[in-house]
Assembly symmetry: C2
Homo-oligomer: 101 residues x 2
Amino acid sequence: MSNVFKALADPTRRKVLELLKKKPMSAGDLAEHFAVTKPTMSAHFAVLAAADLIEADKQGRTIIYRLKLSVLEDALLQFTRAFGLQLTNGKHTTTSTKGKK
Amino acid sequence: MSNVFKALADPTRRKVLELLKKKPMSAGDLAEHFAVTKPTMSAHFAVLAAADLIEADKQGRTIIYRLKLSVLEDALLQFTRAFGLQLTNGKHTTTSTKGKK
DNA sequence: ACTTTATTTAGATAATTGGCTAATTATCTA
DNA sequence: TAGATAATTAGCCAATTATCTAAATAAAGT
């Protein structure tokens, strides 16, 4: 769980996840979206992989990364449940009807 | 947003938030729940405050910390929306359970 | 076998983090 | 005002992180 949040605590890594949400991509193609070197990107991929948020699929000489969406969902869900958070995507729920204190 | 995730990336800080979810508490009372020194706890509070997740209310010589729940909710919501995540609290359409590797 | 391409690993450095003890600030009470 | 209490700030250290350049590995293509 800590690993997931640590992975999310960096804008580059969040952006990588967003890109992978659309479709799996190679390390090189991902790297082109950012202004850092490839070794740096490789390190970011390693952090994401350590959090189990992405998986690698080697095809020939390129490596295709794929988002493990369910892992991300599970981590967030587990956390929000521990807090009794609702996270309704609607207007902004005033934490249910009456007990608001 | 990065600050929020960074704050959440530490078990001690997540526990602090859980405690504050129940009710506001003083720095000292919070510190008693953990096996680190008070200065260390103070540093954790500073991280949480930097993420705007808690607010301090000084009463005499004690400081009462309070969870800013809506900030937490908004950050999570903003993130989940950027991913089109649903975070259904329901059953969970087993997208895995076997790919454990 | 050599060359090119894709990506990671190695090694260096600077910045950040998490922890400690000691010192300081602020407040209360006798 | 002196002493006690609550919490932070200051200063230090070890471990981790983020970044770079340069080198190594792996897979194709020639």
